[in-house]
Amino acid sequence: MMETPAIQARGLVKKYGSVVALDGVDLTVPTGTVLGLLGPNGAGKTTIVRILTTLLRPDEGTAEVAGIDVLAHPGEVRRSLGLSGQYAAVDEYLTGFENLDMIGRLYHLGRKASRERARELLAQFNLEDAGNRPAKTYSGGMRRRLDLAGALVAAPPVLFLDEPTTGLDPRSRTEMWAVLQGLVSGGTTLLLTTQYLEEADLLADEIVVIDHGKIIAQGTADQLKSQVGGERLEVTVTDPATLEAASRLLTPLGVGAPVLAEHQRNLLMPVSGGVSVLREALRLLDDQGIGADDAGLRRPTLDDVFLTLTGHAAEVDDDDPAEAQHQTEEVKA
């Protein structure tokens, strides 16, 4: 028997006037897995999250979360989901404890259970010491953790995180990843949106790449990378003057022309054959006395995937007219 997926969406369409924010999106997230929704600003990621978390009604399509119809029974769905939005939605005048206690009360956990749960989560998210300070005094990373803790108050089986690490410094980001990995190992189903390819690569079982409201690719990180092509040989020579010579020497080993980056003393070339090619390359360089600082086989990154699929890099594009339109429409809505 097939288990009901934790999240299932069919043909989601959302239009803001003439701007199509979502153009027929299908998603399936099996229970206990992580789906990474990857795309630039304005691609439609947040719109998907808002529809699945009952904040927004789609113009067309159906969606189920935890087996419950999102459009027909929004109230029931809300009991089964946790949402942590793009901006940490913590009340900065309340203490960390008060924030979580309030959310517990609004989940109708009861006074005593709300307090216990708040203390438990503060401990779990390493906020015990800061629990009695107003959230105003928290660092960005602490606020995000508190916001995530807020999404977990009712221990929901399905968790939606909209860009959980946007705006965090690298250390806080790594900490957040560890927290999320812990949750997933506990069995939580997670849908997260991100602009960071590294994040999707690290956390997601399956990645859906979305651009202009459409799914343009999906699969595991490895599958997506292999769509772009196989491995590459990367060599960094010690002396920039030898880069040309190294290139002439190694070209016969490749399945495509090498790309040279003079400033980085770098050579990148598609190859096939794995480690034996690398070994051969190193022997050839050695024979000719060309010194190398670094050499290795590189698999394509998700950045390469994105560039290949969309024709543009996964850069934050604040001037995206679709996103701007999207925002003004929502204000009016």
Partner: protein, 270 residues
């Protein structure tokens, strides 16, 4: 979800808003400082000119109910600004994703603003007593006067709640509401006797609900008779100020409670 959840949830939201007053007392200080300033300015700067014979004493008595009305109406902008702020910060998104009663966020917000208004009225009442204002009626009549002021302010809070949900930022709430609230509270019997106003303005002022609530409070505090600045009005709303105030409050609530709640269900952060 039971019906009682609305009240329980609204209480939780109201408590949250009141904690903010506790944590940022500056807010309350500034909302009370400006009416105190108004009392002092009007009583001592304009008072002498308006009421030369009494040296401003009679005017001060006349003035206080007007300042009360103006202050509680201005206080409603706090509701709008607070809600716009919650929308902007994504807190409304969080609330809307919870299995709480959807009406509770606005109910809680308007409830906490009543508490805010009570505190402000107490501070202003004390200031009024210091400058010579007196309640010349019974305790219950005065209490009914204060309740009318609060009921009227509560209705305006719902208008502002709706405004707070449709504008893009808290700053806009303040600017937008000033454009409406300034004429509403000044083209009235709040600070000057109506007889001094030119024809069309006088007609507007007579039917202005702010005039009615002011008149009602003045009557109930016993600040009209025998004050020469407050002759017996002839316009219907001011002859029946309590009824007219309640009709307005009811009409505003009937329109704006559903309107604001419907807007809330559709709003998301920007």
């Amino acid at each position: 979800m039971s019906r009682l959840d609305v009240f329980a949830d609204a209480a939780v939201v109201a408590k949250r808003n009141l904690i903010k007053i506790k944590r940022v007392p500056d807010l309350l200080v500034f909302t009370t400082l400006s009416p105190i300033m108004f009392v002092l300015l009007f009583a001592y700067v304009f008072g002498g000119a308006i009421d030369p014979a009494g040296g401003g004493g009679g005017y001060r008595e006349f003035l206080i109910a007007g300042i009360f009305a103006q202050t509680v109406v201005f206080g409603a902008t706090i509701t709008g600004a607070g809600i716009a702020d919650d929308v902007q910060k994504g807190i409304v998104d969080r609330f809307r994703s919870l299995p709480m009663s959807p009406s509770a966020v606005l109910a809680g917000r308007t409830l906490s603003d009543v508490v805010n208004n009570v505190i402000v009225l107490v501070v202003m009442g004390l200031t009024g007593l210091l400058v010579g204002w007196r309640i010349r009626t019974s305790f219950f009549e005065a209490l009914w006067g204060f309740i009318l002021l609060l009921v009227f302010a509560y209705a305006i809070s719902w208008v502002m709640a709706w405004v707070g949900l449709i504008v893009p930022s808290p700053e806009v709430v303040n600017n937008a509401s000033f454009v409406i609230i300034f004429p509403l509270t000044f083209v009235a019997n709040t600070f000057v006797p109506l007889d001094t106003l030119p024809g069309p303005l006088k007609a507007f002022a007579e039917w202005n609900p702010v005039s009615a609530v002011t008149q009602a409070a003045r009557n109930l505090f016993g600040n009209t008779d025998p004050n020469p600045l407050a002759p017996h009005p002839t316009a219907w709303p001011l002859v029946h100020p309590e009824l007219y105030t309640l009709i307005w409050a009811a009409a505003v609530l009937i329109i704006f409670v559903p309107l604001a709640n419907a807007q809330y269900r559709r709003s998301t952060s920007r």
